[in-house]
């Protein structure tokens, strides 16, 4: 009568398709939530999945229902002191929903629907928004490391690499190939011998027997394993991309860089960081801020500390080059991103550009310069911009853009890296 079925091996994930549909339907809201999350996160945490909040009313499924108002009675359990005719002050707002018996259970007053996105989903949405789907997949840069990988079998090699199974396969094939003809001949002779015996021609039978014995000897001397059978496992060295990257963030923190511009810079650095983490297994961050002299700081101070002073871009470039030579001289892919409002004076722009071209650029994989301009100043290029422009014309791993508003950051980022995707 009873049927017992073990459904555990059936696997879960029946709801995966529905979950995905939900995410697709509310893509806009989820993207909005993800964008907001990015604003609050630390750079290095950026890549984790996370909890997304979507306003509950946006995803509600409507149906005819009773609103507030009108006359009704409801029955509650747990009376202690009330008698008929007592008056109870009306509880306000959300608490009121609790009163109504069955309705109480569903009277959820939370206003946000919260759920977790996995890391993949998070990144998917993030890069969706960027419209950079192919960027992360393109090959990027040259390599120095080599890795030994398997590459089939070779006829020569050291005994340690002997591939026994493969060798035996060869020997079997050789024996079949060489012995097949002999065996066929022997079969024919067998038949002829039987015929000779039957017809009584004794002399012929004797020659056939001799011939048979000869063939058998020949078959006997086929070696089981011969020199040409031997096979060895083969390995070749294949160039391997370096899985480590160092990312230099250079930012001008002089008085003219206000919070607004710093926020733009942060967004830009974030994108670059995310991009690199999708490409490399290990990414190290170096933060260098500069006014008239440069210093290396941690992330928090980099974005939030207030300093003031003049601007000497060269100091930051020199410090970056020094750190690179000390810590990331070999085995690292070095990327650098510089953000500044371009206010540099005197000989500094020209000297910086020269230092960049001669010292820094040859050692970095890619260098990006982002000039943060006030919206009103957008048309006028700075002196630093003018100098850098010449560097950009002369080199291939240098790119520069201007941005003045938040919305421009994504397109600018895309523009900077378009070169690489082609």
């Amino acid at each position: 009568m009873l049927q017992l079925i073990d459904r555990r091996p059936n696997g879960r994930g029946k709801s995966a398709v529905n979950r995905e549909r939900f995410l697709r339907r509310y893509k806009a809201q989820i993207q909005g939530a993800v964008k907001k999350m990015i604003g609050d996160r630390r750079l290095a945490d950026m890549e984790q999945g996370g909890e997304v909040r979507v306003p509950r009313k946006d995803i509600a499924e409507p149906s005819f229902g009773f609103g507030r108002g009108g006359d009704r009675e409801f029955v509650l359990p747990g009376n202690r002191e009330y008698v008929a005719g007592d008056r109870i002050p009306r509880p306000d707002g959300s608490a009121n929903a609790r009163g109504a018996g069955n309705e109480g259970g569903s009277g959820d007053s939370e206003d946000a629907f919260v759920f977790s996105l996995s890391r993949e989903e998070f990144m998917q949405i993030f890069f969706d928004d960027l419209e950079l789907p192919n960027l992360a997949r393109t090959s990027f840069g040259r390599t120095e490391l080599r890795k030994s990988v398997r590459a089939g079998f070779a006829k020569s090699g050291v005994p340690a690499n002997l591939a026994v199974v493969r060798t035996l396969k060869q020997s079997l094939a050789r024996r079949l190939a060489l012995g097949g003809g002999l065996k066929r001949e022997m079969q024919e002779l067998d038949a002829a011998f039987a015929l000779a015996v039957a017809t009584g021609s004794a002399g012929e039978a004797a020659t056939i027997r001799e011939e048979l014995a000869r063939l058998e000897r020949r078959l006997g001397v086929l070696p089981f394993i011969d020199e040409p059978d031997l096979r060895y496992r083969n390995r070749v060295l294949r160039p391997e991309p370096i899985a480590r990257a160092a990312m230099f963030c250079l930012m001008d923190v002089s008085a003219s860089m206000d919070e607004e511009k710093k926020d733009l810079a942060k967004r830009f650095f974030t994108l670059l960081y995310l991009f690199l983490t999708r490409k490399y297994t290990e990414v190290e961050l170096v933060f260098i801020r500069h006014t008239d002299d440069a210093e290396e700081v941690d992330e928090k101070r980099f974005f939030h500390d207030i300093r003031s002073g003049g601007t000497v871009v060269l100091s930051a470039l020199e410090l970056a080059d020094k750190i690179r030579a000390e810590r990331y001289a070999s085995g690292w892919n070095v990327y650098a991103a510089q953000a500044s409002d371009g206010d540099a004076f005197g000989a500094d722009p020209a000297r910086s550009a020269r230092f960049l071209r001669e010292r820094l650029l040859p050692a970095t994989r890619y260098y990006t310069y982002l000039e943060l301009a006030a919206p009103s100043m957008q048309e006028r290029a700075s002196t630093l911009w003018a100098e850098y422009e010449r560097v950009a014309d002369a080199t291939t791993n240098f790119a520069m853009r201007r941005a003045s508003e938040r919305e421009q950051i994504y397109p600018v980022f895309r523009g900077l890296f378009r070169k690489e995707t082609q």
Partner: protein, 495 residues
Amino acid sequence: MTAISHGADWDFALLERYDDAIAEIAGEYGLDTYPNQIEVITSEQMLDAYASSGLPIGYPHWSYGKEFIRNEQAYRRGMQGLAYEIVINSDPCIAYLMEENTMATQALVIAHASYGHNSFFKGNHLFRQWTSADAILDYLVFARRYVMQCEERHGSAAVEEVLDACHALMPHGVDRYRRPAAPTLKVEAARLAEREAHRERHFNDLWRTLPENATEPTRASAGGFPAEPQENILYFVEKYSPKLEPWERELVRIVRKLAQYFYPQAQTKVMNEGWATFWHYTIINRLQQKGLVDDGFMLEFLKNHTNVVAQPSFESQAYSGLNPYALGFALFSDLKRICENPDAEDREWFPNLAGSDWRVTLDFAMRNFKDESFIAQYMSPRLMREFHLFAVADHTSEDELLVDSIHDERGYRRVRKLLAQQHAQEIRVPDVQVVRFDRDGDRSLTLRHLRRRGRPLTEATAEVVAHLRRLWGFAVRLETWENDVRYGDVVECPA
């Protein structure tokens, strides 16, 4: 007899032995059930099952994904435990057991779901009338396949739009009364002949001489359609929508069928859970009497059982409405007590029940009632006192809430009536009906909300009307009436 097992671990052989023992006891008490099918699943699979209202197969829709995410999130954060079981009203009756349960819990669940719920599904008149247990699984398979085919042919966006609209109207997609079967040709001919004969028999030439009535019949009474208001909006849409494609009509039908399948469950929550709880309690206690379970088993069982039937008071943080398990269990247990040990009060309130055979009485109650009528019929004053039930009136004209009546001599009947009403369908689902389909004009559809005691609809109303407009294809408007007076604005979604 010795205990069937010791300790918390379970295996399939033990499940079978417990089931045998439970089946024997259920037989002693005369429980009539569908054959049982028990499926062991993991907690993740339980979450999957949650998302599809417990059904093993469902068509794909984002709202199930939302439900899944909500449950998963609540479960992960520990805000919500998972049910020990889910049981499906089908023949054979499928019950899911979670693998994490202990042996005692599994036995409890088998008694609860595979014998309690199962016999309720088979016996209660609402389930008998409105669901066909042997066909539901096949229908679900069909529905899923059909929806997916539609998605392939017409695109998932188009399908989703129709399903969204249907889901919004799902509570208004059930028949509450059986539709008369369409008369066969023979019956129809006989009826016409009979009518003709009747007319001939009562023919009187004198009527011809009466003067004609001067007033023209109004258009509504002459050709209004439908002749009677229709409360099953989805049915009306399916049959009469001027614009729906055939496949869209079929989708409407699928959602309507599902709504109908769940309709008895919503109306018998208290009874169904109460019945199952009463039986797991009775059966497990009988197992103990027979010496088939040990003390550890009983302690765990009692702990689970007490959790299930806990009823927090209305002021407590844990309160979330009346617990149907607690209320239902109390009602059935109390009914048994009235049959076995009635006191003077019971004799006065339930003269026919006091002293009757409790098995017959309970069986009758289980078969012939729904929550509303069950409470109205069987709630005893003693139970109201035990639950400390009291009724609160919330009237717009008053600044404060008024305690309407409490569990005392004057209030018993009133509290019981209100509690019964609270479990009635009309309290949960507003009364919205189709009153007019302008077939000869602009093809617009008019709905009427019959407001009761001034209770308005929510703001979501306009959205629902917009959904209906999508299905209907022409203008849809919703009027609100109470006592033949129209209130408020007409919610309208133009063509």
